[in-house]
Amino acid sequence: MGTIIKATGISTDNAIKSSNENAVAAGHQCIEAAGIDVNDIDLLINVGIYRDENMLEPAMAAFAQKGLGIKPDYIKSQPFNAAFSLDMMNSACGIINAIQTADAMFKSRQIKYALIVSGDAHPSNKDLESFPYATVGAAMLLEYTEDEKGFQNFSFKHSPTTEHSVRGYLDFNNLAEPAKERLTVDMPAQYKEKLLEFACESAEEYLTANNLDRQTVKLITPQAEEGFGHKIAQSVNVKDDAILDLYKEYGDAHSSALTMAYHLGAEKGLYNSNDNVLFVAAGAGLTSACATYTV
């Protein structure tokens, strides 16, 4: 029994500058690909980090739920036709937290489908060099099956201190721009190098602990810079023929990186039935999150 991916979607249209719009566009594509009734989605988790206009509330997930037309109003719906949505934030690892949470909800509550969306954007919705992440969106629709497939063995790891971490924040002491368009992303010079080391270390520990076959396992990795995925694969002695180098085309898709990599890999037919796909997320903290997905 396991939580499986029913469908995925991505939004990479350069004309879209809003994190909410990208999340909704990816969600539409995902729901259409799944061919399901939108009213069967009972849980929506947004794992995007950087928000339009530095919005605090409501949850960005509320806008995604409304934009996707997922049971937006209870009074007008049939009884029990209710959905719940929330934002979950854990840098680029939120996607794994969200999958584990959806897995818990499938096991403990009567929910049919869970949709995870993501999108990051500079709060000004402008293309700025100071913003190191790609303005893209992604969506992953999950369901629970009786098969021995799906996600298993979730594992999380963090460095002893946040010394080498990227830090993204709205600084109210800095009066350079209006606050709704202001953002600081402090990326230490060694961040990506340290992140790569940390991701390699986490993947190595995970592969060993879970006794995964390095000849056959396929990797889904962050794309923090060019060649990031290949370097992880080489470090842990896993074949890298299933790794797509997405950085050159899209940049660092941050909270959307793993869903996007899976989506594009699946489009290319990289994952076959019963393949073990190792999802490795890594981001601020430093934090990593791993899970095995049996296709």
């Binding site: 509330e57 937006p72 009074i75 818990a104 909800m105 109210f172 009066l175 606050a179």
Partner: protein, 345 residues
């Protein structure tokens, strides 16, 4: 299936109070209304200079751990749920607040993430944690919120014009930290009986918190009159009636001793009690409130109420409590639980 319980609760309430009279006296445009009469809020808890979202969350978590059999190192998960995530003057996006808390508390083995769901933040964290305990993914966890939100009241003091101003509601808020540890229930006396949340975002644009257009602070723009129509308020009882009916239950048979509504203001609570009474065709339980003293402490508000009543030993043994969230989005639902051993030292 395993059930979860409130194992412990803690809070940090700053000593500083700002009275409604003080707040309205400092408004740029003198108010043409009696805020205290409309809201029932005489004073609100207000962050001291040393406080921010992070420190209030730490203080609340430590208070909760003092009331718990667990040490920080025993925690399986930490979920941070505040609306703003201030460390000093910076509101953080990454790393998550929960990681900072984990490091400071020494919760070495805890997994962590933040949730953001307006004033339903702590309910959201508890809902996810309850599901994880039921599913056997974790055995226990800490849900915490250090809510430094009075910045929106300061903005409203500068910018709100009248009772119809979308920032009017911001004058109700106060600051506080709250924390709850859940673990597996061991008997029927301390147990989360029924817990469901619903998001109905048809009118999600009616309450938006974001940096002000006119000053260097967060502001909250809410069309309360549209958001709190009777039809909207009825979502909670209608949803609870439907969920209870699925289990062959009704409101009366639940025999709640107490009800805790969101502490937006006394008139709002009165309206919800009236809506509840009509929709359930049942008298409403005794309504617990601390809004007169602390105001609307947003994501922590229900838990500050529970903490204060437990601390004052005002709840009877074997109480059955109903908590009803109401948050931008619009998020509502219900958490019903039995408590007997839950205590505040």
């Amino acid at each position: 299936m395993t059930k979860a319980r409130f194992e412990s609760i803690g809070a940090y309430i700053p000593n500083k109070r700002v009275s409604t009279a003080e707040l309205t006296a400092s408004m740029n445009i003198p108010p043409q209304f009696d805020l205290e009469a409309i809201t029932g809020i005489k004073t609100r808890s207000w962050k001291e200079d040393k406080d921010d979202s992070y420190t209030m969350a730490i203080d609340a978590a430590n208070s909760c751990l003092e009331n718990s059999k667990y040490e920080a190192a025993d925690l399986d998960i930490i979920i941070s749920c505040s609306i703003a995530r201030f460390v000093g003057d910076c509101s953080y996006y990454e790393p998550p607040m929960s990681l900072f808390l984990k490091h400071k508390l020494g919760a070495d083995k805890a997994i962590f993430f933040d949730v953001s769901n307006a004033c339903a933040g702590m309910f959201t964290g508890l809902y996810l944690l309850e599901s994880m305990i039921k599913a056997g993914i974790v055995k226990n966890g800490l849900v915490v919120s250090g809510e430094y939100i009075s910045t929106i009241a300061e903005t409203a003091v500068l910018e709100a014009k009248d009772i119809y101003d979308p920032q009017f509601g911001s004058l109700t808020v106060g600051d506080a930290g709250a924390a709850v540890i859940l673990d597996k229930a061991v008997d029927d006396n301390d147990v989360i009986d029924c817990f469901n949340l619903i998001s109905t975002p048809e009118y999600s644009d009616l309450a938006i918190g974001k940096p002000s257009n006119d000053s260097n602070r967060y502001a909250m723009y809410a069309s309360n009159s549209k958001m709190h129509t009777e039809e909207r308020l009825k979502i909670w009882p209608n949803f609870q009636i439907d969920m209870l009916a699925k289990e062959g239950k009704d409101f009366k048979s639940e025999q709640f001793d107490y009800i805790i509504h969101h502490q937006v203001g006394s008139k709002f609570v009165e309206r919800l009690l009236k809506v509840g009474k009509e929709a359930f065709s049942a008298e409403q339980p005794e309504s617990l409130n601390v809004l007169e003293k602390y105001g609307n402490t947003s994501s922590t508000s229900h838990f500050i109420v529970l903490y204060e009543y437990l601390k004052a030993n005002k709840l009877k043994d074997k109480s059955k409590i109903l908590m009803v969230p109401a948050a931008s989005g619009f998020v509502t639902g219900f958490l019903s639980m039995s408590i007997n051993n839950l205590a505040v030292k």
